[in-house]
């Protein structure tokens, strides 16, 4: 029996709520629409504000590396960075933020007796790191190479044609110091371009030394017209407008077969999400570990412009969004407030019937919260749809549903609806019921 009155009164509470919501449809719809507009605007703008700059950040990072690591080779013997050290370095980089990377092994080769730089790479890694590369045809695969535009033009090579690449160990004997010293210049340029230039310059240097190399018998070997080598199919042509256009890219496996030697990478390029101080810390942490025999450098130009553009965009987005949001929320509050104000006589009547201010407040606030909740759910769904369309059509990006933001948007809608109804309920509650009823 003790529970029965409570149940009856609770049922009556919900009966009143039901009646207010479903039998006063026009006003309820108005309140829901007001909340809906608010929630849709809130969700749409915030989702875009969060997602678009984040994606732009990711995409900007895909325009090459912002950090490069090269080996320190003191004995003139070119061994590169072995895979264990690559893993270790990557671990250190990832300690300060997510990162993608690619390793490059450079060797000087000859095609039709002319010297070129060939890079042995993992095509997947390089492709993930350099989204801005324009590749006609395919990326390198076993027996197939990707050649730079300048190389293709010089050789008159097309996609599908075959080129013969020769390797002479003598071409590469003096390249280690050249390679490491040229790496120093990479800090002010894009990693891959500088790597390429490093390879190219070393190629030039070694080709000269190669041309005057002496054979075992002591005679000068003039092998400048030597065109022997291994045939490779041209799978694709890469055009970046940078030094990549002068390089031939092959798979690491092909490179090992061609050279007959297996060694570590000459350069590791990283595209790290860390920027500013975090990136500096990453560089320092690697350089401080002298036992690793590697040297890390920032590609400063890309990093700073990257950060500046994204910060600028983000700030602009947030300012515009905040202004729009404030205006929308004022509109929502005014609408809800006006709807509750129109029911002033009901508040007066309930008070005349003996209702306490608290119980009247509870009834009206729950009702407003309900409007806010319904409007919030529909509005958030609509906002997501709108944000999806906007990001796809205007920004050319994808947008996945941000659940915490969606839940926050629904809760905020309900909260705003309740807050908006506080002043009119409080006002009507303070006045004597007779006055409220007289004004009706």
């Amino acid at each position: 029996m003790a529970g029965k009155p409570m149940t009856s009164n609770t049922r009556m509470f919900f009966t009143m709520l039901w009646g207010a919501v479903f039998r006063r449809r026009s006003r309820a719809i108005m309140a829901v629409v007001a909340s809906l507009v608010g929630a849709a605007t809130l969700f749409c703008l915030t989702a875009i504000c969060i997602a678009v700059p984040q994606q732009m950040n990711d995409e900007m990072r895909s325009y090459g590396a912002n950090l490069i690591v090269t080996p320190i080779e003191t004995d003139g013997h070119k061994t590169g960075i072995d895979s264990a050290m690559v893993d270790h370095t990557t671990e250190m980089v990832r300690a300060h933020g997510s990162a993608r990377y690619a390793t490059y092994r450079y060797e000087n080769v000859r095609v039709n007796a002319a010297p070129y730089v060939m890079a042995g790479v993992d095509p997947t890694q390089v492709r993930d790191l350099n989204h801005h590369w324009s590749v006609d045809g395919s990326w390198p695969s076993s027996g197939a190479v990707l050649v730079g535009r300048d190389v293709a033009d010089a050789l008159g090579a097309d996609i599908g044609s075959t080129i013969t690449i020769g390797y002479r160990s003598s071409d590469n004997t003096a390249s280690s110091s050249s390679s490491s010293s040229s790496s120093d210049g990479q800090s002010s340029s894009s990693a891959s371009s500088s790597s390429a230039s490093s390879g190219q310059s070393s190629g030039d240097a070694t080709s000269q030394s190669g041309s005057s190399a002496t054979n075992a018998s002591g005679h000068v070997s003039s092998d400048i017209m030597d065109t022997k080598g291994t045939d490779f199919r041209v799978a694709g042509i890469v055009d970046t407008g940078g030094n990549e256009d002068s390089i031939i890219y092959a798979t690491l496996n092909d490179m090992q077969k061609l050279t007959g030697t297996k060694r570590g990478a000459d350069v590791i390029e990283y595209s790290s999400s860390a920027t500013g101080d975090d990136l500096n810390k990453t560089v320092s942490s690697i350089n401080d570990m002298t036992s690793m025999h590697v040297k890390a450098q920032q590609v400063t130009k890309i990093t700073s412009s990257d950060t500046r553009i994204i910060t600028m965009l983000q700030t602009l987005f947030w300012i515009v969004s905040l202004v729009v949001l404030v205006l929308t929320l004022v509109g929502v509050s005014t609408t809800i407030s006006s709807i509750v104000s129109q029911r002033g006589y009901e508040i007066g009547l309930r008070k005349a019937l003996g209702a306490s201010s608290r119980s009247i407040g509870a009834e009206f606030y729950v009702e407003s919260a309900f409007y806010g909740l319904i409007g919030g759910v529909i509005g958030t769904a609509a906002g997501y749809g709108l944000a999806h369309v906007l990001t796809t059509v205007v920004f050319g990006r994808t947008l996945s549903l941000n659940w915490p933001l969606a839940i926050g948007s629904v809760i905020l809608s309900a909260l705003i609806a309740v807050l908006a109804s506080i002043p009119p309920v409080h006002r009507a509650n303070r006045i004597d019921p007779a006055v409220v009823l007289r004004e009706e």
């Binding site: 029965k4 009155p5 009856s8 009164n9 049922r11 009556m12 509470f13 009966t15 009143m16 009646g19 207010a20 039998r23 006063r24 006589y345 009901e346 009547l349 309930r350 008070k351 005349a352 019937l353 003996g354 209702a355 306490s356 201010s357 119980s359 004597d432 019921p433 007779a434 006055v435 009823l437 007289r438 009706e440």
Partner: protein, 268 residues
Amino acid sequence: MLLELDHISKIYGSLHAVDDLSLTVPEGEWLAIVGSSGSGKTTLMNMIGCMDTPSKGSVSLEGRKLEDLNATQLADVRKNLIGLVFQKFYLVPHLTAVENVMVAQYYHSVVDEKQAMEALDKVGLADRAHHLPGQLSGGEQQRVCIARALINCPKLILADEPTGNLDEKNEKIVLDLFRDLHKQGTTIIVVTHDALVASCAEREIMLNHGVLVGEKWNDDAARAAYEAAGGKPASTGSKAEGAQSGDAPVGFADPTKAAKTGAEPLNK
């Protein structure tokens, strides 16, 4: 006495909506407060019903001075002692007839649909219980309002122009309901400008521009019982023109009734 008004006034700026009125009402009495529009009848009813506070003087209900009570206590008095009947009905438009009756139960104590249905049955509206106010006629809405006023068995029914918006047939139904309530011992105070409605009451007081101008009894037996219980005539300390002076009741002829019957309105 159930109700005691001690020199109460309601003043808005320079306007005295009610001017220095003293009145006592015993339990079980049916009192009519009459007067033309703007005479202060509704203001007086609101003060009696704890919905408004006097600028001066004191209102006591069951010996409790209302000016000593806070908002919550006043709300308690309203829901426990008073049943309100309004001229404009004031039903909650999105609740059915029976739900409107149950609203009064909800704020009073416990909702009981069966009781609410019985109250509607008492006013002849059992078959309209699940209709919204918008689907009911004015007379039916007023009967729902009366059922709502009755549901918590109040000691005092305050009715403001209860027949003001009703046709003759519905007026009769409502007055019959009041008669039944009166017979059951409920105290009724009706504010009206209708002479016929007022004449149903045992006692009438007349206000004019907030000032008591007369009092008359329609039931001598009730008057005798009132005086025997120590009841005093209504009085006013107002010096306004036409104000009743002294402690003796001053009779009046209702102008509305005079207009209807063609008789000369005379003060007795």
